[in-house]
Each structure stands twice: as structure tokens, then as C-alpha cells.
């Protein structure tokens, strides 16, 4: 393994470089000669790839602002010959009240309300476990840690059927009870998706946070212990604050993973406005109304806007988390 090994991807060595290169122009190591290895031909090729990679998204974006009849009859690249601009598509998919409207507003709320706890829960439990793995040394712990590491590549498909059975046996009565107690909370609530996402996030989050937490100098922990701090205090007052950069990276990755997920939602959300996220609604729209491009284009952008904002504003954390977590699922 030269500069980037799987276990190193998170936040040491290799990842430091990644961050630098994404954030800034080529690193200016002393004496590095700014000699271009590549020619004009290479620049042209790079330009072509960049354009090819951008055009599909760009076309969808342009189309989402075009009136329905123009989308259906003319290509988006003829926008100057067939001008037309409207916000109706967004108005319709987000706020439309007609029976046929996708009513994405409700699903947007679901996506958000699923993703926030499904980020907080696993990160809390994972950082606790990571602390235990890093600072409490017992023999069997090492084997257990390697086992947890192996679980992160494990296909989710292996867990879905039995987990759904467990939930319908043990969770359903509780959901029903809560609905009877507070009628505005639907029977099909977020709980199963929260728990499912929490479980599936743990192996990766534990591994990444452990890598970081075990790098905290041992003297810091020892000093606190000598001063009589309990493990609970050390964890909350020392370890968590020091691990904030790592937690931020993992949190962003996990948030987007949940936001972009379709499989877990399909199985645990029930598929209605009550709990289903945007991705599930969009996939359903493609299936049932795959020709209504005025809705699909605008709908797709409603779901893309959050990841794109995260991507462009938190690129550094995002890249670090994503690269570290790309084997998940």
C-alpha cells in the first residue's frame, strides 16, 4: 500500500493529502517544479470529459425551468430558439394540492426528519464504542474490532428480510400504541427507518472514529484519570471535543448516505407520505409517470439541492467522509 490504504483513508496520512488537493491548487512542496507533464491534447481531452460529465445534469436543470409543453416537444439545447421560463414545475411538485401532484413538500420533511436522527444516533453510539475500542485494552477487544471492521463491507441485503420480521413483531405494537396515545403521530412512523439506518451505519462509523480517537495522545487521558475523572467525564469533556473534525466528516457522509438512500426506505418506510423520503417518492414517480418530465426534472432537483449545497459548501469534510465511507452498504 503506498499512499492510500483502505484503513488509512479516513483522516490520517493519505487523507490529509486528499483534502489538500481538493481544496487548493497543486501543493507547492519546496522545489516542486511546475513542469506540465501533459500537452495541449491532454487539456483538450480533460475539457471534453468535464463537459460530457456536466451536460446530463445541466440539461435536467435547464429543463426543470421550462414549461411542460416545451419540454415535451423540443430539446432543452434549443432553449434559445424556443425560449420559455417558468417556476410552475417547482410550485407544482412542492406545493401542489391536486390529487395528481407529487406533493414533494411532505417527503422533503420526511427526508430531513429521517436523516437528522439517523445521523445523531449512530454517531453517538459509534463514538462510545470507538472510545472503548481505543482506550480500554483487553485481549478479546482487538478481535471484536476486526470483526466490526469486516461488517462494514457486508451487503445490507443479508439483513433485510429478518430485520423487517423483527420490526413487525416487536416494533409494530409500540407504534400502534403511540398512535393511539397521540393521534397526530401516524402508525407508520420514523422509528423503524431510524433504527435500521443506525444499525447499518455503525460498523463504518466505529471504524473511522476509532482511527481518530486512538490517535489522541494517551497522556491526555491518563492525566484526566489521575485527576479522578470518570470514563463518562473523559468521554464527554475530552474525547468528544477533540474528535469534532472526525465526527463532522463521518456525520456529513452519513447524513448524505441516508438522504440519498433508496433501499432501506423502500423496505422500512411503508411508502406513504407518513414516513417515505424523497428518493422513494421520486423512484415511484419514475415508475408510474415516467413521461411527466416537467415534474421529474423539478422533483429531481428538489432532492439534489441538499446534497449539492453540502458538496459545494463543505467540500473538504464531504470528500474526506465520502472517500472513507465509500465501501458502505
Amino acid at each position: 500500500m503506498s499512499s492510500v490504504a483502505p484503513a488509512d483513508l479516513p483522516m490520517k496520512g493519505g487523507a490529509g493529502e486528499l483534502e489538500v488537493t481538493v481544496e487548493s491548487e497543486a501543493p507547492t512542496k519546496t522545489g516542486r517544479v511546475k513542469r506540465r507533464l501533459t500537452s495541449r491534447g491532454a487539456t483538450a481531452a480533460a475539457l471534453i470529459i468535464a463537459v460530457l460529465w456536466t451536460i446530463p445534469t445541466f440539461g435536467l436543470f435547464i429543463s426543470s425551468f421550462r414549461p411542460a409543453e416545451l419540454i415535451q416537444t423540443t430539446g432543452w439545447w434549443t432553449i434559445f430558439q424556443n425560449p420559455g421560463f417558468t417556476l410552475d414545475n417547482y410550485q407544482d411538485v412542492l406545493l401542489g394540492t391536486s390529487q395528481s401532484s407529487p406533493q414533494l413538500g411532505a417527503y422533503f420533511v420526511n427526508s430531513l426528519f429521517i436523516a437528522i436522527p439517523a445521523t445523531i444516533f449512530p454517531l453517538t453510539f459509534a463514538s462510545m464504542a470507538a472510545y472503548a475500542f481505543a482506550w480500554m485494552r483487553f485481549r478479546f477487544v482487538n478481535a471484536l474490532f476486526i470483526f466490526v471492521f469486516a461488517l462494514q463491507i457486508f451487503p445490507l441485503q443479508m439483513a433485510l428480510v429478518p430485520l423487517l420480521q423483527i420490526f413487525s413483531t416487536w416494533l409494530k405494537p409500540g407504534q400502534q400504541w403511540l398512535h393511539d396515545l397521540i393521534p397526530i403521530i401516524p402508525v407508520q412512523n420514523y422509528l423503524p427507518i431510524w433504527i435500521a439506518h443506525t444499525i447499518f451505519a455503525l460498523p463504518l462509523a466505529i471504524f473511522l472514529l476509532h482511527n481518530f480517537i486512538s490517535e489522541i495522545p494517551g497522556e491526555v487521558i491518563e492525566a484526566a484519570r489521575v485527576d479522578g475523572a470518570t470514563h463518562g467525564q473523559i468521554f464527554f469533556r475530552i474525547v468528544l471535543p477533540l474528535a469534532v473534525p472526525a465526527i463532522a466528516s463521518v456525520a456529513i457522509f452519513q447524513f448524505l448516505w441516508v438522504w440519498n438512500d433508496l433501499l432501506v426506505a423502500l423496505i422500512f418506510s411503508g411508502g406513504t407520505q407518513d414516513a417515505a423520503p424523497l428518493t422513494q417518492r421520486l423512484a415511484e414517480m419514475v415508475g408510474s409517470r415516467g413521461q411527466e418530465w416537467q415534474r421529474l426534472t423539478a422533483g429531481a432537483f428538489v432532492s439534489l439541492i441538499v446534497p449539492l449545497i453540502v458538496f459545494f459548501s463543505l467540500q473538504r469534510y464531504f470528500v474526506r467522509g465520502l472517500l472513507a465511507g465509500s465501501t458502505k452498504g
Partner: protein, 322 residues
């Protein structure tokens, strides 16, 4: 969505977070109040408890049960039928073949494209903007990517103006428009294009970082020896980033084996485009063929297992060094 619905959802969020805070608070309380005797063991146990309990309940037990279900027929007796079905039914065989095509093409092509792009833009002006453009697809959902590309592949009958970019090109060059998503076998390759579109950015970012890690002296020495750019690429760059290439290839292979959303969104596995992960979902949750779905999940696990074992070995070596 009525105001009541929204209130209910907000209430759920608040209750959920509050209950969670109470659970964590209780745990910390018991951790600090752990009995003096064997205190470290108790505290370790409690720190690990929530995560290990959830993993046992939500991953390990289900995995064992899924393996069991794969060997049961509908009446609950042991049988190999589910696996026999997977390897004999034409549709199921096609699913396996498609998965193999995916896993051969996506990692190799994404890595090749990502590497080429990383080399081309290395130390060029505006490198970070070049990177952002190609990396952006990694941020969005596979469902969103599926919609973006369905629009590119959109078909209108001959004679009408094409609104999909691909058919517009075909028609501009005098061809007949094609129903891309319904045409076997080209539809599978067009779905693969979507995955390559997403994964190239990942390969590019990792490999670009690795390329920057190669000492400049090596490249300069090679240049002084009178080598051309291609020779330097072959003999200096590629050997220098071999480790990263392995990581990128295995990572994309895993992602490709598990690909579900793209197929689900774009064709739902119809027209001979299904892959294992999609077929697993269809069988277990749409057709109520739990046994067959479980067998497909087990096959998926077996396909991923070599990579898991390889990565575990790498990790163990690294931990021994420490």
C-alpha cells in the same frame, strides 16, 4: 400535507431525540456508577453495549437467519431449490451474467477514466474546478442520477422532435430513434454508463492524490533520461500509485456488486437488465419469494467475501506494525 401532519412529524422528531438523550444519559450514569470491583470491565461493557447490541440484533442475527432461509423451501423443509433456481432459470442466469458484466466493466472503465482525467488535469490551471465537475455526481443520489440519465435516453417516436440527447444525436446523424431502455442488450450497457459516470469522480480524486504523492525527483530523473510522457506514465506514475489503484478497484467493485437504485429507478430490472441486488429485492419484497431472495443475498455475500478477507488482512498487518 396538513398542519396536523407536520406537527405530528415534528413531535416524532422531538420525542425521538429526547428518548435518545435519556437512553444515553442513563448509560453514562451507569458507567460512572459502575461497581468498584472490575470497574474497567464494566465500563468497557457499557460503552460497547448499545453498538454491539444493535449489531447483533440488526446484522448478525439477521445474516444467520437469511442464510437459513436460503435453504428452506416454501413449506419450511431443507432444500437446495432456491440455489438451483438461481443457476438454472433463464431469467435468473441473466441476472447473474448482468452482474458479472457490471462488475467487469464499471471498476475498470471508471478507474481508467478517472486516472486519465487525473493525469490530464494534474497541475493545470483551475484543477479544483475540473475536479469538482467530475466529482459532483458522487454527491447526488442514485435515484437522482437515474432520472438525469433517463432524460438523456428519452425516446420519442420517429418523426417527432427528440428531447433526449442521445436520440437527438442519432437522428442528427441520420439514424432512427431507439427505445434505449427497452432494447436488450444495449440497455444494460447504458445503465452501466450511469454507474461509471458516478464512480469516475471517486477514482479521480483518490488517484489524483496518489499521483501528487510521487516524488518529483523520480519524474524529473525520468525526463532527463529522455523518456516521453507516456513512458513516464507507464514506468513512474503507475508503479507509484499501485496501492491506490487496488483500493479504487476493490472499492468500486463492492459498490457495483451492490448496485440497486440505478436499476430500480431506470428499468426496475425489466427488459433483461436485472442484477443480483435488484433481483433480491424483487423476489423477497415484491414476489414474496423469501427463499429465493435470501439465496440471492447469500450469493452477493459470497461475491463480496474475498474483498472483505483481503481488507481484513491489510488491516491486521497495519495493526501489527503499530
Amino acid at each position: 400535507m396538513t398542519t396536523g401532519d407536520l406537527l405530528g412529524k415534528i413531535l416524532q422528531l422531538v420525542i425521538g431525540l429526547a428518548v435518545f438523550a435519556v437512553i444515553v444519559g442513563l448509560l453514562i450514569f451507569f458507567i460512572d456508577k459502575a461497581p468498584k470491583k472490575g470497574r474497567d470491565y464494566w465500563q468497557l461493557f457499557l460503552f460497547l453495549l448499545p453498538a454491539m447490541f444493535l449489531l447483533a440484533l440488526g446484522l448478525i442475527y439477521p445474516a444467520i437467519r437469511t442464510t437459513g432461509l436460503a435453504f428452506l423451501d416454501k413449506s419450511g423443509n431443507f432444500s437446495w431449490d432456491n440455489f438451483i433456481w438461481t443457476f438454472t432459470q433463464p431469467a435468473a442466469i441473466r441476472t447473474l451474467i448482468n452482474t458479472i458484466i457490471w462488475v467487469l466493466l464499471v471498476p475498470t472503465l471508471s478507474t481508467a477514466l478517472g486516472l486519465a482525467y487525473a493525469v490530464f488535469i494534474d497541475r493545470s490551471r483551475g484543477e479544483r474546478y475540473y475536479k469538482a465537475l467530475v466529482f459532483m455526481p458522487m454527491a447526488i443520489s442514485f435515484v437522482g442520477a437515474g432520472i438525469i440519465w433517463r432524460f438523456v435516453y428519452e425516446y420519442k417516436s420517429a418523426g417527432r422532435e427528440q428531447i433526449g440527447l442521445l436520440n437527438a444525436f442519432v437522428v442528427a446523424f441520420g439514424g432512427e430513434p431507439v427505445q434505449w431502455m427497452q432494447t436488450d442488450p444495449i440497455n444494460t450497457f447504458l445503465l452501466i454508463v450511469v454507474m461509471i459516470w458516478i464512480q469516475t469522480g471517486f477514482a479521480m480524486v483518490v488517484l489524483s492524490a496518489a499521483i501528487k504523492g510521487i516524488p518529483t525527483e523520480q519524474i524529473e530523473a525520468a525526463a532527463l533520461d529522455g523518456t516521453n510522457a507516456w513512458q513516464r506514465f507507464q514506468n513512474v506514475t503507475v508503479p507509484g500509485i499501485r496501492g491506490s489503484l487496488v483500493v479504487v478497484l476493490t472499492t468500486i467493485s463492492i459498490a457495483t456488486l451492490k448496485v440497486f437504485d440505478i436499476v430500480r429507478t431506470m428499468t426496475a430490472g425489466n427488459f433483461n437488465t436485472s442484477v443480483i441486488a435488484n433481483e433480491m429485492y424483487t423476489q423477497a419484497f415484491r414476489a414474496s419469494e423469501i427463499g429465493r431472495g435470501s439465496a440471492l443475498a447469500v450469493i452477493l455475500l459470497i461475491l463480496v467475501l474475498p474483498i472483505v478477507i483481503y481488507n481484513v488482512n491489510v488491516l491486521r498487518k497495519q495493526r501489527e506494525i503499530r
